[in-house]
């Protein structure tokens, strides 16, 4: 294993898959000459040229649709949204076309496409640029939704997403791009299956399910709780649709309590879905109601003092774990 940054892990996945398969190409704003708005695609244009690394005008609905059309007849596009906030102008293409055509054509037409880019709040970019997009897309049958938290998962899951025969919504994180972590050595190919949760930390007292940026908030909170004698088990679903609850249920059987921590708004979404499933699948094992720590139910404000309140904090995680543990 070696250490890579999250952005480098994604870049390697794209390099490897483009090397492997000429049908794979990257399209989006500033992905080529500018080397990526967040430098994820750095070097790809130099290696693969303008045929396969394609800068687009600002026309998300257009280039998302071009990608879907190309995928319908055999190419394997990677469509980069500069951020997922801008996917909303392409929402119709993803929802009405990409997610529908396979079943609508009775299985005749496949759409092997990946839509990827940074998701969620960055820092002080205010309400129109801070959406956690998972709930919008996890709602839709016909899509896979992946949100990796670590460099290793980012690489292994992006490779699987590119090889998938279905449309994949791949949610990265601007604040995660610089995160370092272990990734298998060069030449060691790892394809992480879509739809598998991962155990991130073992513990006996409380299960925490989390992903994306709050994953790191939770790991830090878990260390603090451990110092107080509360050992948390942390599970990262990695794929939000389809959702794999098996590990979560196993864990809750042991800890008898669970807190779900996520950045998206509390109304619905994968956070609420996980709570719904666990209360049924692990009902007999629960000693406390499931709790959630979420982004507050407001559009994201610009001011830093308020943004810090809106995003899930270590303090809120610790409080929730203590509440379900009935400890002070």
């Amino acid at each position: 294993m070696r250490e890579l940054r999250y952005r480098e892990a994604l870049r390697e996945a794209m390099f490897e898959e483009m090397e492997r398969d000429d049908r794979v190409f990257l399209m989006g704003e500033e992905v080529g000459h500018y080397q990526g708005a967040y430098k994820v695609s750095e070097g790809l244009l130099d290696k693969y040229g303008e045929r396969r690394v394609i800068d687009t005008p600002i026309a998300e609905a257009g280039f998302a649709g071009v990608g879907i059309g190309a995928a319908m007849v055999g190419l394997r596009p990677i469509i980069e949204f500069m951020t997922w906030n801008f996917s909303f102008v392409a929402f119709d293409q993803i929802i009405s076309n990409a997610a529908k055509v396979h079943q609508m054509s009775a299985g005749e037409i496949q759409v092997p496409i990946v839509f990827r880019g940074p998701n969620g709040a960055a820092k002080q970019v205010a309400s129109q640029h801070s959406h956690s997009a998972a709930p919008f897309y996890t709602h839709i049958p016909g899509l896979y939704v992946i949100q990796p938290s670590t460099p290793r998962d980012a690489k292994g899951l992006l490779k699987s997403a590119i090889r998938s025969n279905n449309p994949v919504v791949f949610l990265e994180g601007e604040t995660l791009y610089g995160v370092q972590g272990e990734v298998p050595d060069e030449g060691v190919e790892e394809l992480i299956p879509i739809g598998q949760s991962r155990l991130a930390r073992t513990g006996t007292d409380c299960t925490i399910v989390t992903w994306g940026r709050p994953y790191y908030t939770v790991l830090a909170a878990a260390e603090k709780l451990a110092a107080e004698g509360i050992e948390c088990e942390v599970i990262d679903p990695r794929t939000l649709r389809p959702l794999d609850t098996a590990l979560m249920v196993e864990s809750v059987k042991k800890t008898n309590r669970c807190v779900v921590v996520h950045e998206h708004w509390p109304y619905g979404g994968p956070g609420a879905e996980i709570v719904d499933r666990l209360q049924r699948e692990a009902f007999d094992y629960l000693d406390a109601p499931l709790e959630r720590v979420t982004g507050l139910d407001v559009p994201m404000p610009y001011a830093l003092n308020l943004e810090d309140k809106v995003l899930p904090t270590e303090g809120r995680v610790i409080d929730a774990v203590k509440r379900v543990s009935y400890s002070k």
């Binding site: 600002i58 026309a59 257009g62 909303f88 610009y302």
Partner: protein
């Protein structure tokens, strides 16, 4: 123009100091356009802009204090610290926002123009956006409706030659964007944006036409931003020579030289500069000393109050 220039320079400094966060898009180099537009508009008119919105807000009369406090995320800011640089609002002055999604505000401008027509008012809407915004669906649909319904709106494309790092020749097959006007059945115009008097005359003509019921205009103004797209962009995609050539046509310098040529006393101009400097200093002090944005305002403004419709 000096006020905008100095305000933007001071914003950049405070961004570097960490007093301002998020995205910060400066208007340096494009000042003549906002100043000219503000000059020809009436109090009852409406204005929309992208995230590059400090210039027009100040030109329309927003105080530097209110603008700077917004950048500092303070309760005394024009959006009470909730909007930040990209989302200035000054509803009293008809400034209906700084908007963050490319193309998203053009239809809104058609909407305020629709209101003017609906209510039989002679107010006009001016909507600014960049060259990069002319390829997105929001542009097409707004232009289609405004053209069809002959709405009193002036669409001003500030063509600063780049959409982030991408030069115009890689985002459009057209050299002249103003030809698009024809496809929407509206008048088109195209001119250089560094001479404030020229800009004033030409935007003025479009505004007059709209006010008189002559329908919308699509204007392409050729301009240039002297800084990167935002503070995080080092603008490596353009050459020093190109930048220097453009700076030789600095709208602020041009206007100063013209005034001197007309016999205006240099000391009088220096006095204006000093006044501007003082006002900016006062704005920074005001922003520093103000209360941070309030949680209560964030919570209570998600929805409008009910009851008095």
């Amino acid at each position: 123009m000096m006020m905008i220039r100095r305000f933007e320079e001071e914003s950049a400094r405070n961004y570097a100091k960490g007093k301002i966060g998020g995205f910060l898009h400066l208007y340096i180099g494009q000042e003549a356009i906002a100043v000219a537009a503000a000059e020809v508009l009436e109090d009852r008119d409406y204005i929309f802009q992208t995230y590059r919105d400090h210039g027009i807000a100040l030109a329309r009369g927003m105080s530097a204090k209110s603008a700077m406090a917004e950048l500092f995320g303070k309760d005394t800011g024009c959006s009470r610290g909730l909007g930040g640089s990209m989302h200035f609002f000054d509803v009293e002055r008809g400034f209906l926002g700084g908007w963050g999604i490319v193309g998203g505000h053009l239809a809104l401008a058609a909407g305020t123009a629709f209101k003017s027509k609906y209510s039989g008012e002679d107010s006009v809407t001016v909507c600014f956006f960049g060259d990069g915004s002319t390829n997105i669906g929001g542009f097409h649909e707004a232009m289609s409706l405004a053209g069809l319904w002959k709405l009193p709106v002036v669409f001003v494309c500030e063509n600063n030659q780049y959409a982030m790092g991408t030069p115009l020749e890689r985002t459009s097959p057209l050299k002249d964007l103003s030809v698009k006007a024809k496809g929407y059945g509206m008048v088109g115009d195209r001119f250089d944006g560094h001479d404030v008097e020229v800009v004033q005359e030409r935007i003025g003509a479009a505004v007059d036409r709209a006010r008189a019921g002559g329908g919308p205009t699509f204007i392409e103004i050729l301009t240039y931003r002297f800084r990167g797209h935002s503070m995080s962009d080092p603008a490596k995609y353009r050459s020093r020579t190109e930048l220097e050539q453009r700076k030789a046509q600095d709208p602020v310098v041009l206007v100063r030289d013209r005034l001197l040529g007309l016999g205006v006393d240099e000391n009088a101009l220096d006095d204006i500069d000093l006044e501007v400097d003082e006002e900016i200093d006062a704005a920074v002090r005001f922003a520093e000393d103000s209360e941070p944005a309030l949680e209560e305002v964030m919570m209570s403004t998600v929805l409008a109050p009910e009851g008095d419709s």
